[in-house]
């Protein structure tokens, strides 16, 4: 069973394959995303992140989840040589480069704690899979054509080890990721960068950081152990990491 709700201004989709897919499970996951949105949305006047930015609460007064996200952001900044930064050019905190993946990961952990084995959770094009799909096969995820927004698929990957897959891009809303090291960098060479990692939290934060590196991003992903990537430049030429092929041919290997 699959359900969709609009949360954080974006479609959040949950598909549960297991027979005992109760409505409560869906509700719990959607409620969790609403909770995250209420806390981390920079668009909401009364969110904790807005209150922090407006100095209505001090850093010492941060909630446990906010503290966790700030710590993870700091860690990610170090791991990416400064290319990931939650401090925007205008000096505000914006955790959106990491919170989506983090919350998808937490939401899928909720389902796992409830004993659900085969499912995926998607928020705005970032996906965490678990177990197998409805046909008992590895989850088949399409990478969206960045030149054609009707969700046309230009590449299929097969995920069988509970991976996460995240795509960063500038093609829908215009650039919303910036290069923290060079604010004048328009980041218009690469228009889409997909990262597959051991989970969606990992995939999302490194997709954000690698996208901020422009052309160098795919080389960064190549160097990261346990990650594979697929980047598309403005001419429609894709470049993939050396191990990315394993995800393309996975199904053929299994069913050959």
């Amino acid at each position: 069973m699959k359900q969709v709700q609009i949360i954080m201004g974006t479609p959040v989709a949950v598909e549960i394959v297991d027979k005992e897919a109760k409505q409560e499970l869906f509700d719990e996951v959607f409620d969790y995303f609403r909770y995250v949105d209420q806390k981390f949305s920079t668009y909401k006047k009364d969110s904790e992140i807005t209150m922090l930015n407006e100095k209505k609460i001090r850093k010492e007064e941060m909630s446990k989840d906010m503290k966790t996200v700030f710590e993870l952001s700091e860690e990610t900044k170090k791991l990416t040589d400064g290319y990931f930064d939650i401090v925007t050019p205008s000096g505000m905190y914006d955790t959106s480069g990491l919170v989506k993946g983090w919350s998808i990961w937490n939401a899928s952990n909720i389902l796992k704690e409830r004993g659900v084995k085969n499912f995926y959770v998607e928020a705005g094009g970032d996906i965490q899979v678990n177990g197998k799909n409805e046909s008992g096969e590895p989850w088949c995820i399409g990478i969206q054509n960045p030149f054609n927004k009707k969700r046309e698929v230009i590449k299929k990957v097969y995920l069988s080890k509970n991976e996460g897959i995240a795509t960063s891009g500038s093609y829908v809303r215009g650039a919303h990721i910036y290069n923290p090291k060079n604010k004048d960098d328009k980041l218009d060479e690469i228009i889409s960068l997909t990262v597959i990692g051991s989970n969606i939290f990992e995939a999302d934060r490194f997709a954000t950081a690698a996208f901020a590196m422009g052309k160098d991003g795919i080389y960064f992903v190549e160097k990261m152990k346990g990650f594979e990537g697929y980047s598309i430049n403005k001419k429609g030429i894709a470049t993939m990491t050396a191990g990315f092929n394993n995800y393309i041919n996975n199904k053929e290997k299994i069913y050959a």
Partner: protein, 180 residues
């Protein structure tokens, strides 16, 4: 005299051709040539091993805020389908085509068991050229290819988030029709 003129003309044509080839010839490769060495030195990357576990999932607040914009009442109701277990009537509902500044966005909401089971794009702006220049030059170390459309027989699609006010507005108008 005739010979001299002919050879001069030949020389002129030949040098024009060389110039032409040179200009065209250098254009493509400079755009597509990556700088792998620069990449290697520019990024001093820390070794990353393993996964950070984040398990703080226990604090689920009870603050259900209504997401997105409020749906506007629609003057075009669709025939009422049968089973009602959620807050929407089952069926497919096409939302308004909403003007995003770069084109129109229109979605269709599919309601199953009274809830949204899918959202499909009917119209989406084509703000970039669809034509792709194919070039077989592979990047050093990494494989390159020209992207090409595949069939859409997939479980889910990964792409940059298509958050937009137009999207939410079109979907809201679709849901307004579905509302019981």
């Amino acid at each position: 005299m005739k010979k001299a003129f002919l050879s001069l003309a030949l020389i002129f044509v030949f040098s024009a051709y060389v110039l032409y080839v040179r200009i065209l010839g250098t254009d493509l490769p400079t755009v597509l040539t990556p700088e792998p060495n620069k990449t290697k030195t520019a990024l001093s990357l820390p070794q990353y091993n393993g996964t950070t576990q984040t398990t703080s999932t226990n604090s689920v607040a009870s603050s259900p805020s209504s997401p997105g914009t409020k749906p506007k009442p629609s003057p075009t109701p669709t025939p009422a389908p049968v089973i009602n277990t959620g807050k929407y009537r089952n069926g497919s509902y096409v939302g308004n085509s909403v003007d995003a500044y770069y084109g129109n966005v229109q979605v269709k909401a599919v309601i199953t068991g009274g809830r949204i089971s899918d959202v499909q794009f009917l119209d989406y702006p084509q703000d970039r050229q669809n034509s792709v220049r194919i070039n077989s030059r592979a990047m050093p170390y990494l494989i390159s290819e020209a992207i090409a459309a595949q069939d859409s027989n997939v479980d889910a699609v990964s792409g940059a988030s298509f958050t937009s006010a137009a999207y939410v507005e079109s979907l809201s108008s679709a849901l307004a029709q579905a509302r019981i």
